[in-house]
């Protein structure tokens, strides 16, 4: 069984790659140069390593930084995910600026925003600061980390505001982020934390987790001690899906027309849609519409979740008779485009119910399928896959896929989705 990387789940554009950046010491200086910033804050930076206990070699590297004077370290959840899922097989080490290796423990994680806190064994650590601030577009930001295990690096970039097309707020950064800089800080010239390096979208486009989520995590982490992280992840995923599914179900779905069918359109600002209309395939034509959430939630190298994806295919033909046309429909119906993968360690197989559904004059053959997350009780991947059986030479195939939702939300969303479909004969 292939273990698809989580990037496979973003067939459209987005190739998340991990980055990292570190930060040096802090002290106000008059002439601000990148060199000054680096030298001032470099002792706050560290490299985070996940070590495989069996072989004692590095399995993942990322960056991190001290956020208080007691050795508390901030990094990305995705840097430490192996330790979370297989605590016996891995340990966490970090390397400080003076090249000393220390041991660290997990304190807290936030899978939704991709953050983790570690407790290091260094004492009296210099730290970076949280400070309320308003940044303007174009303001200079220093991004630090240890790209590709090459050594601590600083990159100068500019703040470009919050993204409005992702489900969870991210800061858009014009700067060169590279793998290995994940978990490192991006700071202003005076050492104020702007965010945590998390992803890149290619040349000089990077993303940061805004510092407010780090502050929240730090606040809540003081309230609990050792914990069952599977339970923590489950609760975070459960609460998160409740929040966004409820928000999407507040009002009926906006719809658009695809020939004589009305179908769900862009449901929220963070859902991206692409269209591809009027492809001529000889005896028939297709028009396609794809929508998907831009960033989903990384759990481990095998699993991502929190995805909403739906697509519509309109098939039309005036050359094929009705029997032949429905062979074509069947071909499309047999291969739902869900981009789902997964293996038996993480998921059950799908169970489906298939029947005809009537919505006014629109008759659909619909399959509703669920599979369970083995580690996260009560969370499911859902597929709702329908083909119209209404017209002789024209048909709609529409597929909805939600990953990591509760059964109740799967049904509620499925109902709303089918309710938004309609056929208006011309």
């Amino acid at each position: 069984m292939n273990r698809p990387s989580h990037a496979v789940r973003h067939p459209f554009v987005f190739c998340l790659s991990l980055l990292l950046l570190t930060l040096t010491s802090i002290a106000p200086v008059r002439a601000v140069t990148t060199e000054n910033v680096f030298n001032r804050f470099k002792d706050r930076l560290l490299q985070v390593r996940i070590i495989d206990n069996a072989t004692n070699s590095k399995s993942v590297i990322g960056s991190g930084f001290f956020i208080d004077q007691h050795g508390t370290i901030a990094t990305n959840y995705h840097v430490v995910s192996r330790k979370v899922f297989k605590p016996e097989e891995y340990r966490i080490e970090y390397v400080t600026e003076d090249n000393r290796v220390h041991q660290a423990d997990l304190i807290s994680i936030d899978v939704i925003h991709d953050l983790a806190l570690l407790s290091g064994d260094s004492a009296d650590t210099p730290d970076l600061y949280f400070r309320d601030q308003r940044l303007e577009k174009g303001e200079r930001i220093y991004t630090m980390g240890n790209p590709l295990d090459l050594g601590m690096t600083i990159v100068e970039g500019t703040y470009n505001g919050l993204t409005d097309d992702t489900m969870h707020e991210r800061i858009l950064l014009a700067s060169a982020l590279n793998p290995g800089m994940s978990g490192g800080p991006s700071i202003t010239k005076d050492g104020t934390i702007v965010g945590v390096n998390v992803a890149t979208a290619g040349n000089s486009i990077g993303f940061l987790v805004p510092e407010k989520f780090l502050r929240n995590l730090l606040k809540t982490s003081k309230t609990h001690k050792k914990q069952d992280y599977m339970q923590v992840i489950r609760q975070q995923l459960f609460d998160n899906q409740n929040k966004y599914i409820k928000a999407l179900l507040q009002k009926p779905f906006p719809t658009k027309h695809l020939d004589s069918y009305s179908v769900p359109a862009k449901l929220a600002s963070y859902i991206n849609c692409w269209g591809d209309s009027g492809d001529d395939h000889g005896p028939y034509t297709t028009a396609d519409d794809y929508c998907a959430v831009k960033n989903n939630i990384f759990l481990n190298s095998r699993m991502s979740t929190g995805e909403i994806r739906y697509n519509h295919h309109l098939l039309k033909s005036d050359k094929l008779n009705r029997i032949r046309f429905y062979n074509l429909m069947e071909e499309y119906f047999a291969h739902p485009q869900t981009s789902l993968s997964g293996d038996k360690d993480d998921f059950t197989e799908f169970k489906c119910k298939t029947n005809f559904v009537q919505k006014g004059k629109l008759r659909l053959k619909t399959a509703f399928c669920l599979r369970r997350y083995k580690s996260f009780d009560g969370l499911y991947d859902m597929i709702l896959h329908s083909a119209s059986v209404t017209e002789n030479q024209r048909g709609l195939i529409t597929t909805l896929m939600l990953s990591g939702v509760s059964y109740d939300n799967a049904v509620a969303f499925g109902k709303a989705y089918l309710e938004s479909l309609a056929w208006k004969p011309r």
Partner: protein, 328 residues
């Protein structure tokens, strides 16, 4: 005067090689030319045994001091003198011998099915062969056309039809040879017509099964129903071939056809089962679609459709499955 007997000489495979009418005793048997019955078997002595009839009419066999002896069978026991019943086999050298009376019962005569019924005349008539082949080819072409949504060219139609007819010809020829050997007639027309009718059966039943799955959307229903045609049609074909080509009774031909089909389909399903992936990450659902006219029923309301889906969320998770260990 006792009734004459028939003495049968059998080879080591039990096949009768010679029959001798015995009207008087004693009868001496051996390899020498001075015997009453002369055997070619090199393991038989020049004078091997003698058959006598005693006063009460029993037949006694005595060994004439042969090299290799006289044996009764089942169990194989050596005797100097042996009293034998009718039809009891004895062995000398590599030859078996038995005696049968004139009124020994024989099997019923095989019925030669050359005497034809009207139907039989149609199925064995060489003139009808092109008619049936045209019908089969026509049906196949229609099926192939309706099954596809791509443009159909003469070339790919021929490439589809040709293998079918090559199969029909090879299969019929093989059975014609069997017919020729066993019943002394070729019957090519019969085998070829039967094969093409059975092949046509596949193209008639397949759409029927997929239609049944369309109106009853149960995953795998058409596949399961097609077991009927996968098993039944080869059975019909084999039964027809066997009845025409061999003297097997209806019962025996039927059993042979059923066992062969079950065995072949069983092996094919076993192979398919072994190759099935252990885990399927894609959903399995009933995928058949047909034009609206084929489903006159209305669909369920949306609420009704989702009403009984709770069972879908119930999964048995084995405790031994690989679950990430909880943190210490």
């Amino acid at each position: 005067m006792e009734a004459p007997l028939i003495l049968e000489i059998l080879d080591r495979f039990g096949k009768v090689r010679e029959r001798h009418l015995i009207t008087q005793f004693p009868v001496r048997i051996g390899r020498g030319y001075d015997n009453d019955i002369i055997l070619d078997d090199p393991y038989v002595s020049p004078s091997h045994i003698e058959l006598l009839r005693d006063g009460s009419g029993h037949i006694l066999v005595s060994d004439l001091k042969s090299e290799n002896g006289l044996f009764s069978l089942h169990p194989l026991v050596r005797h100097e003198v042996l009293s034998i019943e009718e039809n009891q086999r004895i062995r000398i050298g590599h030859t078996d011998i038995r005696l049968r009376s004139r009124n020994f019962p024989i099997r019923e005569t095989y019925i030669d099915r050359v005497r034809p019924s009207q139907l039989h005349l149609i199925f064995t008539n060489m003139v009808m062969l092109p008619v049936f082949w045209l019908l089969t080819a026509g049906l196949f072409t229609f099926y192939y056309y309706q099954q596809s949504y791509r443009a159909i060219t003469l070339n790919n139609l021929i490439s589809q039809v040709l293998p079918l007819f090559i199969f029909i010809i090879l299969w019929s020829s093989a059975w014609s040879i069997v017919s020729k050997v066993v019943t002394h007639k070729y019957y090519f027309a019969y085998h070829a017509i039967l094969t093409s009718v059975v092949m046509a059966g596949f193209y008639l039943l397949e759409p029927l099964f997929s239609y049944i799955e369309f109106i009853n959307p149960i995953y795998g229903l058409a596949d399961n129903l097609s077991l009927i045609s996968d098993l039944g049609l080869p059975m019909i074909l084999l039964y027809g071939n066997l009845r025409q080509s061999t003297p097997l009774s209806k019962r025996r031909a039927g059993i042979t056809a059923i066992l062969t089909s079950v065995l072949v389909i069983g092996v094919l399903h076993l192979i398919a089962y072994v190759h099935e992936p252990a885990f399927n990450s894609q959903p399995q659902f009933s995928q058949v679609l047909k034009a609206p006219m084929f489903n006159p029923r209305k669909g369920q309301s949306i609420d009704h459709f989702f009403a009984n889906t709770h069972a879908l969320s119930q999964f048995e998770i084995k405790s031994d499955s690989t679950q990430p260990a909880s943190n210490p």
